[in-house]
């Protein structure tokens, strides 16, 4: 039989229940933080992605020409679609606009640990607010999205950086425009290559000053608090914009402290985010040892909506993927648990009792209970054996003599303790009993 494609996943019931539980925790958290869910097509015109990221992005995409002659692509990310949606209605929406999406993304890459060709992402954006309070809100939310699974600051941290500070610093070194973006791209790679290689690249990019510049950059990356950062900024400090930016840093950190999430934050200018459109604070979440890929990443992108043809609308957002998170939760034994056994297994002593039971099964299921019964009628003791095999908590027993007295027998299958339930009040009685039903 034809197998599924490499880098794509099948989810059998146990894995699907975990996925569902993760999505539900994401959704509950997003609603508590006041974000509204949106959805956009999984298949989009190819140019939606090349307009944002340049034609070279097509190399990483599943793209083709459809039967209508349109160049289309499976979306590699949600941002272009949500920017289009917000741009179309920005005028009529109360600001800030807080939206999220939980959806599938597709990239044609070599499948490897933590990276598949199809994966799910929670995508979060806040539009319409340039103030750092929106950045704080999103960073606190990202941290809650880890805490909701039982992860703590001993497990994950947020590496917080600032592309504005980098631009101010590079400007003070005489590096501006595309050259500054090129240097940021080099900084993005420094963590994963040796110093000699980095130095060589810097020499190609900025010439003779490379060695001094690299040392200054290393000092900035090593800074873990604002005083160290100020020292490392050196000559850039004389720029009044830098003083103002540092005041925003103080405001952001103070807000995160008030929110109770500062222990998760690590100042780390080594994070610059590869993509050119980020404009301010940027951040990535990692397992604290830093061994695995980023769990999440995001930042401020105040110019993108306008660049893509919308109104001027400041924005900050992040995305968190399911693959690396699920690996981490598995490793930490924190995968959400799911009820995989029925509430009730209905057993009947004969055809007349079975008819009555079948009606009750529908009523109890409509009330939200997970109810099973032997689909093919079989002997009484066989039915009780099936109830045990299914792992049901209780058997509901429909016997001739009990029904004659208007009763149904309830048996706890662990303790074998039995009690009689009035048939006329079955649903109400069972509702007081079970706190685990799904309704």
């Amino acid at each position: 039989m034809t197998q599924s494609l490499p880098g794509f996943r099948e989810f059998y019931p146990p894995e699907c229940a975990v996925k569902r539980a993760i999505f539900q925790k994401w959704q509950q958290t997003m609603l508590a933080y006041g974000f509204a869910e949106v959805e956009a097509p999984i298949l989009e015109p190819l140019e939606l992605f090349t307009d944002k990221s340049g034609p070279e992005i097509a190399e990483q995409l599943f793209h083709f020409v459809d039967k209508g002659g349109r160049a289309v692509a499976l979306r590699p990310e949600f941002t272009p679609s949500v920017v289009r949606m917000v741009a179309a209605r920005a005028q009529g929406l109360r600001k800030p606009i807080k939206w999220f999406n939980i959806g599938e993304q597709f990239r044609f890459e070599r499948p490897q640990k933590g990276r598949l060709r199809s994966f799910y992402q929670l995508n979060v954006d806040c539009f319409g607010l340039a103030d750092f309070s929106a950045d704080a809100e999103l960073i606190a939310l990202l941290i809650q999205l880890f805490r909701v699974f039982g992860l703590t600051q001993a497990d994950v941290h947020i590496r917080l950086s600032d592309r504005n500070l980098w631009f101010f610093f590079l400007e003070s070194c005489g590096i501006t425009g595309q050259a500054a973006l090129d240097v940021l791209a080099l900084i993005d790679k420094m963590e994963r290559e040796d110093r000699a290689k980095s130095l060589e690249k810097f020499q190609k990019c900025v010439g003779d000053n490379a060695s001094v510049l690299l040392t200054q950059i290393e000092a900035l990356i090593a800074a873990r608090d604002l005083p160290s950062l100020k020292i490392a900024l050196g000559g850039a400090l004389s720029n009044p914009a830098v003083a103002q930016r540092l005041a925003e840093w103080e405001g952001l950190l103070d807000t995160l402290d008030a929110m109770g999430v500062l222990p998760f934050i690590q100042i780390d200018l080594g994070i610059v985010r590869g993509l050119a459109y980020y404009t301010g604070f940027v951040f990535e979440a990692f397992e604290v040892s830093g061994r695995s890929r980023a769990l999440a990443g995001g930042g401020r992108y105040d110019t993108l909506v306008e660049k893509l043809g919308g109104p001027a609308l400041p924005a900050v957002g992040f995305a968190i993927g399911d693959v690396v998170l699920t690996d981490l939760l598995t490793e930490k034994n924190l995968l959400p648990t799911c009820n995989m056994t029925p509430d009730f297994y209905v057993v009947s002593s004969g055809p007349a009792e079975r008819r009555i039971a079948l009606g009750d099964v529908q009523i109890l299921r409509a009330a939200g209970f997970w109810v099973e019964y032997a689909l093919v009628d079989t002997g009484f003791s066989k039915q009780l054996k099936l109830a045990d095999q299914a792992g049901a908590r209780h058997a509901l027993i429909y016997g001739e003599s009990e029904l004659a007295q208007g009763l149904v027998k309830l048996r706890h299958l662990g303790t074998r303790v039995e009690s009689d339930v009035p048939h006329a009040q079955l649903k109400e009685t069972l509702s007081t009993l079970s706190s685990s039903h799904h309704a």
Copy 2:
């Protein structure tokens, strides 16, 4: 800005909340009926679909060759994928295997009312049981999937048919094999074309007997109860297999009666399901007037798993789509409602109070409450105005004198009634107050 593709939908928050509410009702119902969720890739090898439906299916698909040189397609239905999954593990799974999926499907068709190029389907299958009790379970489940939205037998009905009876009847007329499948394909189209046209097609298919045959077929289609069906079957009744099949009909209808869903059932042999792989009872759900497209359809397919390379595994399943259902719920004013307003809006009288409030906001959100506050700090009365604009049920007011007494003020924004809540027991007190929070 690049628009989305024709036949694909964007879901802004109000529509997305409805979609989510529909999916949640589907999921709760499926779990109550003891079905486990599974998921398979949205992109599959093209041959997975052509193996099942023949090469002509490609005309209706989004398909292409990926960068690895594989012919791939966006799935038009879930059945081939779930059949592959069940075939791979059938031996180790307790029967019956009851699985469902809620997912996106794609067909390259002309977009029109009730039919889009991308749509969602709830796909339901029960594997491993040839008995009609499995058919009854699925039909009762399908009906509950309408009732859960408030739809009744005055709104929707299930047209129940049987391809076995058709095959027995056609056999008694000397029509077997591919000729029988061809006649079923003609019957499938009769409802939507005039009689002269149908007769012409029958003549091409079966020759001179067409007129008599068509009259007999019309009598079978017109039958609405078992006695009429028996009369219409005519000479086929002498086949002992037909008597046995009618006993299964009686068993199925009696079971549906015991389940309390018989009022939804309409015997209607006009339903034959277009696809060749159905092998027994088949059914479709319609709005009772029959004006719109089918809401759902399914039936028994006992040979497909083996045909696709798996073990011999009887199966019955159905799918229900979101497009026609959402149209019907809209028309009947039965769209599920969703809470679109915050539980609490937090207001603070100054910077010190705001710091305390920001910490509480995170705690209350972690407890599942939807909590909002003015992201950018602003004046006290402006904050109260924002609370009203957001439609929050309560304001939580952090004032200097109240906090000095260890209190927070709770104001109901509809009635303006205020009460003091001990700051140390804030979460616990609010939990007793609100029954509408999301946790």
